[in-house]
């Protein structure tokens, strides 16, 4: 939602468009999408267990059992490898398919600065910190566009400020402000979306980042600057080929800067694909080559991949879909990979406006053994959406315990309700359980005339002074609001 200030000329508005170009991804607006973290708060996945990420808050990657509530599925996704294993991104960069003319801006705050109360209670409450992010994408011509984003999340910086400032002698380890935020980044670039037979799209983005990463002992201050990333899609013999390349100067504070270079090529086939990702750090190459496949035959669906890197990795899943009746289906399946076997069965019910799903699974892996189930039920109409989901996983054995003492998420639950008061005004809230309860709420007002949507979001951990990890920040209530305008 906006705040009025004295009427200023549109000259200033244009100037601001130029300067204010401040980036981020924004709140997802799809079905019950209020999240426990802001959308820039992304897990550093690809490793086992639950992790506090470089971002100020945490999220669960929940690798071991997977298939859980909002878990990262272990079905293989090249994008995940590209972003996290090869490009080693702490924060996802701009969506490369960005081709809408958009400007967005969000500002938020951990709740609870003293303000006037300091006159009475001086020194009693620690400082609370903001976050800010936004960006724009605008067409230059029919085919070329330009975009930029800015993102700085100071949430939880206050609780780490002491340990962070011991490591660096300046308070300025960010694009602005003096909170030593966990992440601060600024990017800009150009892109092309064509209709040609050969080149489909291409983009180049450059920028720099400050961030803090946890290396299981201490926080590491890192500066990545400059960073240049290029992406392109071309067609060759009717198949799409994705190309990626990036180079960056990566420097842990007070150590020698390293150059990190990455290159990726991916062939996207309908039933078979493959590719190669190369990552070069300090003259050491990390190469992953893979092929992925996806077939259906006699009602069976077979999906999987084989990858060659420093070790052989593979996964293959076989499912068989059965329609029990018009609205109910049953899908038994199994999946095996290099470290174990998973067996699962899923039954789904779909009869508007009701949806339901139950899935049970059993894992036998080298790192863990578990059984679990996921369940979801939802109601969806034009006026309201409501639902509940519950997941539970029982670990018989879990290796990560021995190393880090990090508790896997054994159960998680979610209830949500979205209600549309008026055509363009919706209220969403949800209760989420992941070791502790969160209550999140969002008001969303759409203004069709301006192609604008306003958001006000309240993220609330329902416990006080609770830390998810020893090295993490204290969970508190946070609020943020923002606007997204299609220009």
């Amino acid at each position: 939602m906006g705040y009025g200030v004295w009427g200023m000329g549109y000259g200033i508005f244009q100037l601001i468009l130029l300067i204010g170009i401040i980036g981020g991804i924004g709140v997802q607006t799809t079905f019950a999408q209020v999240r426990g973290e802001t959308s820039a708060l992304t897990p550093l996945a690809g490793e086992l267990g639950t992790h506090l990420i470089a971002m100020p808050t945490y999220t669960y990657s929940r690798m071991p059992g997977t298939l859980g509530l909002q878990a990262e599925e272990e079905s293989w996704r090249p994008d995940k490898w590209r972003d996290r294993q090869i490009f080693n991104r702490f924060v996802p960069m701009i969506d490369w398919k960005t081709n809408q003319n958009n400007i967005w801006f969000y500002v938020g705050k951990e709740n609870g600065d003293m303000l006037w109360q300091e006159l009475n209670y001086r020194g009693e409450v620690p400082n609370k910190v903001p976050m800010i992010y936004g960006g724009f994408a605008a067409s230059l011509t029919n085919e070329f566009y330009t975009f930029a984003e800015f993102n700085q999340i100071d949430f939880f910086s206050g609780s780490n400020f002491g340990s962070h400032s011991e490591q660096i002698n300046t308070q300025r380890f960010s694009w602005f402000g003096e909170n030593l935020p966990a992440y601060s980044g600024l990017y800009g670039g150009f892109g092309y979306n064509g209709t040609g037979d050969f080149l489909k799209n291409a983009s180049v983005l450059t920028g720099s980042e400050y961030l803090w990463a946890w290396n299981e002992k201490e926080w590491m201050p890192i500066r990545i600057s400059p960073r240049v990333e290029g992406n392109a899609s071309v067609y060759f013999m009717k198949s799409e080929i994705e190309l990626h390349a990036s180079t960056e100067k990566f420097q842990i504070k007070d150590s020698v800067a390293e150059n990190h270079n990455s290159f990726g090529l991916r062939l996207k086939g309908k039933s078979i694909g493959g590719g190669l990702y190369v990552n070069n750090v300090k003259d050491k190459e990390n190469i992953v080559a893979w092929t992925d496949f996806n077939h259906s035959f006699f009602g069976f669906a077979n999906r999987g991949f084989i990858a060659f890197g420093d070790s052989l990795r593979f996964a293959d899943s076989l499912e068989y879909g059965i329609d029990l009746n018009k609205s109910t289906s049953l899908t038994p399946g199994f999946l095996f990979n290099q470290s174990g076997i998973k067996m699962y069965a899923e039954t789904a019910y779909k009869s508007k406006p009701l949806y339901g799903k139950v899935r049970a699974y059993q894992n036998y892996a080298a790192d863990f053994e578990s059984i679990g189930f996921d369940s979801e039920i939802a109601y969806k109409s034009s006026l309201a959406e409501a639902g509940a989901a519950y997941s539970k996983e029982f670990f018989e054995y879990y290796r990560e315990h021995d190393f880090y003492g990090i508790k896997p998420v054994e159960n998680s639950a979610k209830f949500f309700l979205k209600y549309r008061f008026l055509k363009d005004l919706a209220f969403t809230h949800e209760w989420v359980y992941r070791d502790l309860w969160f209550w999140n709420a969002q008001v969303e007002q759409h203004i069709p005339r301006w192609n604008a949507t306003f958001y006000a979001v309240w993220l609330n951990a329902l416990s006080k002074d609770r830390k998810d990890f020893d090295f993490g920040g204290v969970n508190g209530a946070r609020f943020y609001c923002g606007i997204n305008v299609r220009i």
Binding site: N111, D113, L119, C481
Partner: protein, 173 residues
């Protein structure tokens, strides 16, 4: 940080203004803050935008300079209060509108002694909260509307929430 935020406010207000109003009135706190802060005048500006047949979006910003009753480390406090919300349109109630919205308060001390540097108030501090508003149109002319405007704001400060009232007159164009 603040600089960027105000830029964004300007952006939003300019891009979306449909009717603009200027207002002035009094600012007073409820509860224990009454013992610390004197009632003070405010000046404000805002805009309104039709959202639907029944609802109007409002945005309002006020500035006040607060004088303190007890504290001697500051001459006073600069206070900026920004609000945005949704209120009823004239199709629901013709002469009055009621609304709720979110508030953002920013306060900065005007230091009087070196000891002021030990306060967080010595730099700008801000916090969100929510507000309720009541607007009554007294005089409606072709181009102008004159009326009264009342706000109750609850700012979610710690260790206690802060409550304040603002009441005054507005001229809308």
């Amino acid at each position: 940080m603040k600089k960027y935020f105000y830029i964004s406010l300007l952006l939003v207000s300019n891009a979306l203004a449909q009717s603009v109003s200027f207002s002035g009135g009094a600012n007073c706190f409820l509860g224990s803050l009454q013992k610390e802060i004197e009632p003070a005048p405010y000046l404000g500006a805002g805009f309104e935008l039709e959202l639907s047949y029944y609802t109007i979006g409002y945005s309002h910003a006020t500035f006040s300079y607060l004088k303190l009753k007890k504290n001697r480390d500051f001459h006073g406090l600069y206070q900026f209060l920004g609000r945005a919300g949704i209120e009823t349109s004239e199709h629901l109630f013709e002469f009055a509108s009621i609304g709720v919205g979110i508030s953002l308060a920013t306060v900065r001390g005007n230091a009087a002694t070196p000891a002021a540097e030990n306060y967080m108030l010595n730099t700008s501090e801000s916090n969100f909260g929510w507000n309720a508003r009541l607007k009554i149109n007294i005089l409606k002319m072709e181009k102008f509307t004159v009326g009264t405007l009342f706000y109750y704001d609850k700012i979610l400060t710690l260790p206690n929430s802060s409550h304040l009232l603002q009441g005054g007159m507005f001229v809308g164009i």
